[in-house]
């Protein structure tokens, strides 16, 4: 952890996720507790099936845990599978997502993909358009704003996805293997981008990754195996 004195962005307390029941019961995540501060970039490592994505979807308020608590910005959001707020609205205002595949909406241009996130949050089209262009410029794809996702390279698509994740000034950015579809050079660029965003915009960033070549950009590294999480050795 880079600075334990900073504001807590995410706190999980004994998160457990169990799929199925009886003979088919699978414990995907067991008693996972973690704290991430604003401005901190965290890598989550581990083999396939270790529970990384399960953890990410629980923290991302997409797939509720079976038990345990999720607090974001000090607010209790989920306790077990019981939401304590409107999760969709909360996601929109506080969380940003980046995935393995860029996951842009295919019928919207790069700028519109960023703009829609802000308009859904209540920004006027004019404001949203201006900020979307600003974000694309910041991420180095400002000249591709009117292009459809299908006309962008994988790296450009990921940058647009990062821009969308940043659109509403989220306190938390969650990325699930964002460099898996990129070459090592572009993968490194994206990882450095997350670090830049975390430090400049004071967002907590959790990145699930298999890519060990860019681990030096992370402030903290966790490893997961068989649903258990532990702090990784530097």
């Amino acid at each position: 952890m880079s600075d334990a004195g900073q504001t807590l962005a995410i706190e999980t307390d004994r998160l457990t996720k169990i799929y199925g029941s009886g003979n088919t019961e699978v414990v995907a995540m067991r008693d996972v507790s973690m704290q991430v501060h604003r401005g901190e970039v965290v890598a989550l490592l581990g083999p396939s099936g270790s529970g990384k994505s399960t953890f990410l979807t629980a923290v991302g308020l997409i797939n509720p845990p079976t038990s345990g608590r999720v607090l974001i910005g000090g607010k209790l959001v989920v306790e077990g599978d019981v939401p304590h707020t409107n999760l969709r609205s909360f996601r929109r205002r506080h969380l940003g997502f980046v995935f393995q595949k860029s996951n842009l909406i295919p019928f919207l241009s790069a700028r519109e993909n960023v703009q829609i996130a802000m308009q859904l949050n209540g920004d006027s089209p004019k404001q949203a358009r201006a900020r979307a262009q600003e974000l694309l410029d910041y991420l180095g794809v400002g000249d591709r704003g009117e292009s459809l996702p299908s006309m962008l390279s994988g790296g450009q698509q990921q940058r647009v996805a990062v821009a969308r994740a940043l659109a509403n000034h989220p306190s938390v950015i969650l990325a699930d293997e964002p460099t898996a579809a990129l070459d090592s050079h572009r993968g490194r660029q994206v990882m450095e981008l997350f670090a830049k965003v975390a430090h400049e915009q004071q967002a907590a960033v959790i990145v699930v990754t298999h890519d060990h070549r860019s681990l030096d950009v992370f402030d903290t590294r966790y490893e997961m195996e068989d649903g258990l999480m532990r702090l990784a050795q530097s």
Partner: protein, 403 residues
């Protein structure tokens, strides 16, 4: 940002083809409604156009349209003498089928009561009304008989002196107007051989009477035309049409004429009802039910199309949910596309129908109230058929964006 329009623009070709398909389907629904309306209009057109207040027909029949009616020609004069009657006209109406250029030509022949009725009430598209009491004809355009065309019917040749349109019999055949006498001549045309046989039969029957033995000259009468024989009645009429004076009470006049033992009397509304509830009732119901069936099928097809369109967007919808889009945004996306599909489909149906319907052999009458009704139905279908897509969209988990 209008997501529905953005998505349509992105996959415009597919949306255009789908809309075209829906439009064609709606055109069939619209056409069925038009055929239904055309059947009703054609059936009652003649009653409306001839503008008679009362119809006098054979006693206890529902003639002259719903069933055969025969009344004597003298009934015209009896009716004219009734207080309150302005005029009475003979009504002769029958359908004939001839062959022309190797194709069947069906003509609904109506007799005009010369000289009081020369067809001036018929809206002509060319030529003129009748000017002589024989061998002239006004023909509906659908018969394909232009002004100046000559056609042989029965023993005589008739010249088309005027054309009209939208004058269709209840069976959908184009109408031709000639004088009553000509209409009867066409209807009761008898081949020469049949005339000769009839004369021989008359002579044979006459020889059995003592009177002929005493006055052999009477036998000469048997060779005269049937219409000239004093003992043979003139051919009957189908009905007599009565026009009332402006101040006359139709019920009173109808009561007087209805009191005669040999006839029944109907108002124009009564005739219209007899037609609609009799002659065209089954075809009307058949087309009506088929139209309902087509509407249901259109609704099912539209629902499936919208459901498929939603399935194609599952990933985008999941993504929208993941980034926090409220359900109203997703609902609006699907509903707007459903409404656009319905609206464009309706417009295509109307525009293509305007070009296609006139080519149909029977009239396809698309009226404004029917268009408004169909538009409302399409609106309802669009909303209802989007329910399946909306149901699917609301069940999509944001998790699907990650897969």
């Amino acid at each position: 940002m209008n997501l529905a329009l953005k998505d349509i623009r992105y996959s415009f070709g597919r949306f255009a083809l789908t809309t075209l398909g829906v439009g064609m389907l709606l055109m069939v629904v619209m056409g069925m409604g038009g055929i239904y309306r055309g059947v009703i209009e054609d059936a009652t057109l003649l009653i409306d156009r001839v503008d008679a207040d009362l119809w006098i027909v054979q006693r206890d029949t529902r003639g002259p349209f719903a069933e055969v009616s025969r009344v004597p020609p003298s009934l015209v004069h009896r009716a004219t003498a009734v207080p309150g009657v302005a005029s009475a006209r003979e009504f002769v109406y029958h359908t004939i089928q001839r062959e022309r250029n190797g194709k069947p030509l069906r003509i609904a022949v109506m007799g005009l009561s010369w000289p009081t009725d020369k067809g001036d009430w018929i809206a002509l598209t060319g030529g003129r009304a009748l000017r002589q009491n024989h061998f002239e004809m006004i023909a509906n355009e659908s018969l394909g008989l232009p002004v100046g065309h000559r056609i042989k019917l029965g023993q005589e040749t008739y010249t088309v002196v005027g054309t009209t349109n939208n004058m269709i019999g209840s069976s959908g055949d184009g109408m031709a107007f000639v004088t009553v006498r000509d209409a009867q001549a066409i209807q009761f045309d008898v081949p020469g051989e049949a005339v000769r046989l009839e004369r021989a039969a008359r002579e044979s029957r006459a020889r059995r009477f003592d009177l002929v033995a005493q006055q052999p000259m009477l036998l000469a009468n048997t060779q005269r035309p049937g219409g000239e024989l004093p003992a043979v009645a003139r051919p009957g009429l189908s009905a007599v049409m009565v026009s009332l004076k402006p101040d006359a009470d139709a019920d009173v006049v109808a009561d007087i004429i209805g009191g005669w033992g040999d006839v029944s009397v109907y108002t124009s509304d009564g005739q219209r009802e007899l037609l609609l509830k009799g002659t065209v009732e089954k075809i009307k119901r058949q087309i009506g039910l088929f139209r309902v069936l087509l509407t249901v099928i259109a609704a099912i097809i539209m629902a499936l199309i919208l459901y498929t369109m939603t399935l194609d967007k599952i990933h985008s919808i999941a993504l929208l949910k993941l980034i926090g889009a409220p359900n109203t945004v997703i609902l609006s996306l699907i509903l707007q596309q459903a409404l656009l599909l319905g609206a464009f489909g309706f417009a295509i149906a109307y525009l293509v129908g305007q070009k296609v319907f006139p080519m149909f052999p029977r009239r396809v009458l698309v009226t404004q109230p029917d268009l408004i009704q169909l538009a409302a139905i399409v609106l309802g279908i669009s909303i209802l058929s989007s329910v399946l897509g909306i149901w699917k969209a609301l069940r999509i988990s944001p998790n699907e964006a990650l897969s």
